[in-house]
């Protein structure tokens, strides 16, 4: 160590100011927009109170991008747009232009480079997803691979606006569900209690903290082969995996026991109905890389049942609210089981406490 070298102190600048990077028309009309419409899927047209107009072309990306992909998007942004871009919450890139004449050449350039234009209005937007095997320390699957497989299947629905309303899909690689709520959610579901490596627990884990993490109080301290460790009451265990991040020797993942579940009806927006959580449809799907065909098939069935039966502006959960769960299970062909009956705190409030029945 060279003690004469002083490490550089960080400049705590926090959130960067976006105004130097914002398209000049957006800067000029900041807070003064009047209305917008959509020219075609993937193209927004905003009109400011000043009369200024701006066109936005939205394209899908793979989110995990190599610098060459980003530079290619920049080249397109310089040549066909005006050097200003932004990203949506769902990793779509947006190019803003000040003239409608620039829209079609920009779309052509994006398509030629393999970037689908769409994701606006009542389309299926890009899936919001997590890191998976590529970078996470506790993943049950690889979100990027699941997402690539699903987006290939749904490419037409990204580039067209043919759904009753927008469809927001999420995936998560463990039950913490960093991907969040979705109209359809594809999430890892563990099926077996953790397998404990008793040689490592006392070396790696802060045992009281691990005990405290368990939502069903199924973990207790124990001496195993004379060593301080932890044990799990497997009858109580709900296989949530909460003990695994603070204590990696409590391995929750297994090549065959880590499964995938599909959920529906989550919604963040307040439009019409209040925000809702997604609900279980199918569990125990195989975690089947590299293309997860069983998962893709389940999502396809749900998506197209909604597309064919939903009314304009009904989100997926609102559609089910109208037709009822019996009809949903009929239309999609999935089984309704005891595992669909909630058993968690507040479960009773999810039951039908009325004489309202769908036939």
């Amino acid at each position: 160590m060279n003690s004469t070298v002083q490490p550089r102190r960080p400049v705590e600048t926090g959130v960067p100011d976006p105004f130097p990077y914002m398209h000049p028309l957006m800067r000029k009309n900041y807070g003064a927009w009047a209305w917008h419409d959509r020219l075609r899927p993937g193209v927004l047209h905003h009109v400011a109170k000043s009369g200024d107009q701006i066109w936005t072309v939205r394209a899908g990306t793979q989110r995990q991008m190599d610098v060459f992909t980003i530079r290619k998007l920049c080249d397109i942004g310089d040549k066909y747009a005006e050097g200003h871009v932004r990203f949506t919450t769902r990793s779509n890139i947006e190019f803003m232009v000040s003239s409608v004449d620039k829209v079609q050449p920009l779309i052509d350039a994006l398509n030629a480079a393999g970037f689908p234009v769409g994701g606006t209005g009542n389309s299926v937007s890009m899936i919001s997803h997590t890191q998976g095997w590529l970078h996470c320390d506790i993943p049950g699957t690889d979100a990027s691979g699941v997402v690539k497989s699903l987006m290939d299947m749904m490419h037409h629905e990204f580039t067209h606006e043919e759904m009753p309303n927008r469809v927001r899909i999420t995936t998560s690689c463990c039950q913490i569900n960093c991907g969040g709520q979705g109209d359809i959610s594809i999430n890892v579901q563990y099926t077996k209690p953790p397998k404990i490596n008793h040689d490592l627990v006392s070396k790696v884990c802060e045992r009281p903290a691990v005990v405290a993490r368990c939502p069903v109080a199924a973990i207790r301290p124990a001496l195993v082969d004379g060593k301080p460790s932890l044990e799990v009451d497997e009858k109580k265990c709900v296989c949530c995996g909460a003990c695994y991040p603070p204590c990696p020797p409590m391995q929750i993942n297994g090549a065959d026991s880590t499964k995938i579940a599909v959920w529906v009806g989550g919604k963040h927006s307040n439009a019409r109905s209040k925000p809702t959580f997604h609900k279980l449809v199918v569990a125990n799907l195989p975690n089947n890389p590299p293309r997860w065909p069983e998962v893709t098939e389940v999502v396809r069935k749900i998506l197209y049942a909604y597309k064919e039966n939903g009314r304009d502006f009904e989100r997926l959960g609102e559609w089910i609210e109208r037709i009822g769960w019996p009809r949903f299970f009929e239309l999609t062909g999935f089984a309704f089981t005891k595992h669909h009956l909630d058993t968690w705190t507040g479960a009773r409030k999810t039951m039908n406490m009325s004489a309202h029945v769908h036939f």
């Binding site: 960080p10 705590e12 600048t13 926090g14 959130v15 960067p16 976006p18 990077y21 398209h23 957006m26 800067r27 927009w33 905003h46 701006i54 990306t61 793979q62 989110r63 190599d66 610098v67 992909t69 980003i70 530079r71 920049c74 080249d75 310089d78 200003h84 871009v85 932004r86 990203f87 919450t89 393999g114 970037f115 997590t130 890191q131 998976g132 095997w133 970078h135 996470c136 320390d137 506790i138 690539k148 497989s149 290939d152 490419h155 913490i176 709520q181 903290a209 405290a212 993490r213 949530c240 993942n253 090549a255 880590t258 307040n270 959580f277 975690n287 890389p289 590299p290 502006f313 968690w344």
Partner: protein, 436 residues
């Protein structure tokens, strides 16, 4: 070791080491959607770049994960000088097989509010990351950060220093204030009810110490959406959600309403706008103009979304604040709960009040939450009355779907509480109150 030497030489111009075969990942190159695998291979095949051998082994490890359906990363401790968080350390558990990617840390970097970039800026970020990292960047992670993925321990500080030199700062990780997000809002949306960039930057930049030196019981997230459409998913995904709204009447351009009805049809308008209003606040008149019962309207945004040109938010704008949204761990999912139905957001003082309310919540959380407890869980544990008292907010009927249905509560001070309510109402109405 000989393997490692080979890779080491690859970056200095020697022929590259043998590529790992990736038959499973190769299948993710087919199909119309942009392929992240093709991108990883581009980095692997960038022969003159220092990161090429690292990305070869990264692809090897990922293929190994696909074969065995198992992840092979573990955490650790890596940070930059002066900060305790913001770097996600990743050490490979199969470094013997894939030594070049044995360290593959992520730098979480806060993006400009609203995710605005110039192409020049993106190129600068790429150049820095190409020099010190893997060349792999996620735009953006679920917390809202730019995720610079894949950096050796040695290069973390160097990469950060260069990002920091061009005005970028690390985001949050661990039990800390986390990176925030805000919607496009004022920059390009007619529904935006407050200045999201201003709220986002002034709140987060006030509490950077809580982000850079993690000392909270657990994570704490702010998110900012300009209206009830909540495009950044704040209500569910943030401990502190700021959702734009307005108090006065929505604006109706009756000529545009008529144009909409003429185009969409009367039946369509009734079925898809009037009948879809959640509080039956709309009525279509015989002359195809719109009646709005503004006192019944809950600002859900549906009719404004559909009749975009005809309807817009009122002038008395600000935000609602919902507290306690979170995902599953530990007690189950929670949506944020309405705590402040309206905070005006217009003047400097208004934004200062928002910051002060944020401070009150962070202080409450720091002092009262148990280890690894989110504020939504603390609220549930102590009950809403105690929570409100602790943060100095009065009860309001907008906080509930309906009043309690259980009689199991001690109410001997009900009359006192009722008097406080009437005094509050009188004060709001500008009347003199005896207690003053």
């Amino acid at each position: 070791m000989s393997d490692e030497d080979k890779h080491g030489q690859a970056s200095s111009g020697e022929p590259p080491a043998a590529r790992h075969s990736t038959p499973m990942l190769d299948q993710l190159e087919a199909g119309p959607w942009p392929s992240f695998v093709t991108g990883l291979k581009r980095l692997r095949d960038a022969g003159d770049k220092a990161y090429a051998p690292m990305m070869n082994d990264l692809l090897g490890q990922l293929e190994h994960s696909y074969e065995n359906r198992t992840g092979y990363w573990k955490g650790g401790t890596v940070s930059v000088f002066g900060y305790g968080g913001g770097v996600i350390p990743r050490f490979s558990e199969v470094a013997d097989k894939f030594p070049q990617s044995k360290e593959f840390h992520t730098l979480r970097v806060q993006p400009p509010a609203g995710y605005h970039y110039t192409t020049d800026l993106l190129r600068q970020l790429c150049d820095i990351w190409e020099k010190y990292g893997s060349g792999l960047i996620a735009l953006h992670g679920q917390s809202g950060d730019i995720m610079f993925q894949g950096c050796s321990t040695e290069n973390v500080q160097k990469a950060f220093d260069e990002f920091n030199e061009i005005g970028f700062d690390l985001g949050g990780a661990g039990p800390a204030l986390r990176t925030s997000t805000s919607c496009v809002g004022h920059a390009r949306c007619e529904k935006s009810c407050y200045d999201e960039v201003r709220a986002h930057r002034s709140v987060i930049n006030e509490f950077l110490d809580e982000m850079h030196r993690p000392a909270l019981p657990y994570k704490f997230k702010f998110k900012f959406s300009g209206c009830g459409n909540d495009c950044v998913n704040a209500i569910h995904r943030a401990d502190f959600a700021v959702i734009g709204t307005w108090r006065d009447d929505m604006k109706v351009d009756q000529e545009e309403v008529k144009k909409y009805v003429a185009k969409a049809g009367r039946k369509y308008t009734i079925d898809h706008v009037i009948a879809m209003c959640p509080t039956r606040a709309l009525s279509l008149n015989d002359d195809d103009t719109l009646d709005v019962d503004n006192k019944s309207c809950v600002r859900c945004m549906h009719c404004l979304n559909v009749m975009n040109k005809a309807l817009s938010p009122g002038d008395d704008r600000g935000a609602s604040i919902l507290i306690g949204g979170k995902r599953s761990l530990k007690i189950g999912d929670l949506m944020g709960t309405m705590i402040v139905p309206f905070i005006k957001l217009e003047t400097d003082e208004d934004y200062q009040r928002l910051i002060e309310f944020g401070r009150r919540l962070i202080d409450f959380f720091a002092e009262n939450a148990l280890e690894h407890e989110r504020i939504g869980e603390t609220m549930d544990r102590i009950g809403l009355p105690a929570f409100l008292e602790a943060i100095g907010v009065d009860p309001d009927p907008n906080m509930v779907n309906h009043p309690r249905t259980s009689s199991f509560v001690r109410t001997d001070d009900f009359t006192v509480e009722a008097e406080k309510y009437f005094e509050r109402k009188a004060r709001e109405a500008g009347l003199n109150v005896a207690a003053d």
